[in-house]
């Protein structure tokens, strides 16, 4: 995606790694940044990597979190991933939270900035989960207005992530993909394609993940997420997949990723792992696998000629 120039030159900024060139940036594979891995990361730098953090974890005033993020930002491009903006909610956006989010974007100049097509707060209570919304013209109008508000505040396009869901709504009048396409058209936002979420939803709601991905607007995709999932059963005893971020990426999700890269070309790819954290080498190897898949599809003109 095209990155706008950073705004507010007078604001405090973390000095750091310049954004990679557009072509090199597309090839990056990264992982969630966890404080427990900081020493390993600084000692054992991955090549062509980037790190993603949950924005809310860096909304304290100061202290070790900002020190660690600044250290990471000095050596790597950063992706700022918001989880609490509640863009899919029925309440107004929290203006204080939006200002904090804007300040983080200004301070750390991330390569990527993303949020979720979901909600997490309502009526003054924060539920700390990504909750689902119906897909209809009312919700589309509200989501678009929320996205526009965020993009106005940060002065650049936001990437919106497709959710992992366990239920649907009787009041939905359109498919998730139609909703997403209209959302992109109306707001100019980009998309963060979470392939694990697509697989989880396809299983939970009885549709084909490949068909969803075949219809996904890959040209709007600014980032890809991969993660591990767990399994429970629904009321009928059928598999109900849970987007747990607590284990390695499943082989079936790697296969879907391969097909997305084959069709859409390389994109910054992030392996999310948020609980039951593994040692650094395991996480690094997950990113390497994504990098290898992107490299395998990077066909030189000569080789393309050969293959043809």
């Amino acid at each position: 995606m095209v990155m706008d120039a950073p705004i507010e030159p007078e604001s405090i900024r973390a000095q750091g790694h310049p954004w990679p060139s557009a072509a090199a940036g597309q090839q990056l594979a990264g992982v969630s940044f966890k404080h427990a891995h900081l020493q390993d990361i600084l000692a054992n730098a991955p090549v062509e990597g980037f790190f993603e953090v949950h924005a809310e974890n860096y909304m304290g005033m100061g202290g070790p979190p900002h020190r660690m993020l600044t250290a990471i930002r000095q050596d790597y491009p950063l992706s700022l991933h918001g989880v609490c903006m509640s863009i899919g909610g029925t309440d107004e956006l929290d203006s204080g939270h939006l200002a904090r989010f804007r300040d983080l974007v200004r301070r750390y100049e991330p390569m990527l900035v993303s949020e979720h097509l979901a909600w997490s707060s309502h009526g003054g209570t924060f539920f700390n989960d990504l909750l689902p919304l119906p897909y209809n013209h009312d919700t589309l109008a509200r989501v678009c207005s929320h996205i526009a508000q965020v993009q106005d505040a940060i002065g650049r396009p936001l990437l919106l992530e497709n959710p992992a869901t366990y239920v649907t709504f009787a009041s939905s009048t359109m498919s998730e993909l139609d909703f997403i396409k209209m959302m992109v058209q109306r707001t100019g936002c980009g998309l963060l394609l979470d392939i694990n979420n697509v697989y989880v939803c396809a299983t939970n709601h009885g549709f084909s993940a490949s068909a969803y991905l075949a219809d996904f607007p890959l040209e709007q995709m600014g980032e890809i997420h991969l993660a591990g999932h767990g399994a429970q059963v629904d009321d009928e005893g059928d598999a109900l997949l849970i987007d747990g971020h607590d284990r390695a990426v499943a082989d079936v999700v790697w296969d879907l990723y391969d097909s997305v890269i084959a069709r859409g070309g390389p994109r910054p790819t992030l392996v999310e792992w948020d609980s039951d954290l593994p040692g650094w080498p395991i996480l690094r190897d997950q990113a390497s696998r994504a990098r290898q898949i992107m490299a395998a599809h990077r066909v030189s003109p000569l080789r393309a000629h050969h293959v043809a």
């Binding site: 809310e56 974890n57 909304m59 304290g60 005033m61 100061g62 202290g63 070790p64 979190p65 900002h66 020190r67 609490c84 509640s86 909610g89 029925t90 309440d91 929290d94 939270h97 909600w119 997490s120 707060s121 309502h122 009526g123 003054g124 209570t125 924060f126 539920f127 700390n128 989960d129 909750l131 689902p132 919304l133 119906p134 919700t139 366990y166 239920v167 649907t168 709504f169 009787a170 009041s171 939970n204 709601h205 009885g206 429970q232 059963v233 629904d234 009321d235 009928e236 059928d238 109900l240 849970i242």
Partner: protein, 261 residues
């Protein structure tokens, strides 16, 4: 007004969120699944995510309390609190401020009357961890001051500095349960005042000597050095001004000094 009326006319976020913290409610009518599947277990995934993630958040803020009570006791206690007082801020680093008071009133924790103060240290620890960055006062700053003007000095605390007074040996209990090291018997009748500071990269918790809390709390309220020392001597005749002030400066308690009126 019947429940049916409510769920049909409320925005989806209202009807969806009502049952998240109340397991006695049915999933909202608008919530469905393909092929006419049931939605009980599906909606329960969200219920579980909300409650478990908030209990996890409290466990992350209060690790020493959890070590003292054991995981099962802690999670049962935290579940009551999460249901009664879910977060109002999206920042989990702000969550659980009223958990120490809840612990104090929790019937099953009555035989651990010091537990709430351990929780108060842990909450102060997290506030110190996220507090704004500021330089700490150097020891040399004081030696540059004219002796005659010392008593009129005022001390601005570093943003991370917190004081917690307790009638229990709360620093000893906290320190012993901060790691997985074995614990040893202690005298529960000993009062301790905790000092929480962030002199450099890390938050430290120390025990204030006699009169230290009265002295520091006076300074933090804007009293001059002379007035704060008087307050400290009034509480503890054994108060040692030089060692308290020196210890506090090296623990990173202060950020700046100025001459008071």
């Amino acid at each position: 007004m019947s429940r049916e009326f409510l769920t049909c006319h409320l925005p989806y976020a209202s009807s969806f969120s009502m049952g998240l913290m109340d397991p006695t409610l049915e999933p909202p009518d608008d919530v469905i699944a393909h092929a006419d599947k049931g939605v009980t277990r599906r909606y329960n995934v969200y219920r579980n995510n909300v409650t478990v993630s908030l209990i996890d958040a409290l466990a992350a803020i209060y690790p020493a309390v959890q070590r003292i009570t054991g995981v099962e006791f802690f999670r049962a206690m935290a579940r009551f609190h999460v249901r009664a007082a879910p977060p109002t801020s999206v920042l989990l680093l702000e969550y659980g401020r009223d958990f120490p008071d809840f612990i104090e009133s929790y019937a099953y924790a009555r035989d651990m009357p010091w537990l709430a103060d351990v929780a108060r240290i842990e909450r102060a620890w997290l506030d110190a961890y996220h507090a704004a960055d500021a330089a700490v006062l150097a020891v040399e700053a004081l030696s540059a001051v004219d002796q005659a003007l010392l008593t009129n000095l005022q001390f601005a605390p570093h943003p991370a500095t917190r004081v917690l007074r307790s009638i229990y040996p709360v620093v000893t209990i906290f320190t012993m349960n901060k790691t997985d090291e074995p614990v040893s018997p202690i005298d529960l009748n000993k009062a301790e005042d905790a000092l929480i500071t962030r002199p450099d990269a890390d938050v430290i918790v120390s025990r204030l000597p006699a009169g230290g809390a009265a002295f520091l709390l006076s300074l933090m309220q804007g009293a001059t050095l002379g007035a704060a020392a008087t307050a400290a001597f009034a509480e503890a005749p054994s108060f040692d001004l030089a060692s308290n002030l020196g210890g506090m400066i090296s623990a990173g308690v202060f950020s700046t000094i100025r001459h008071g009126g």
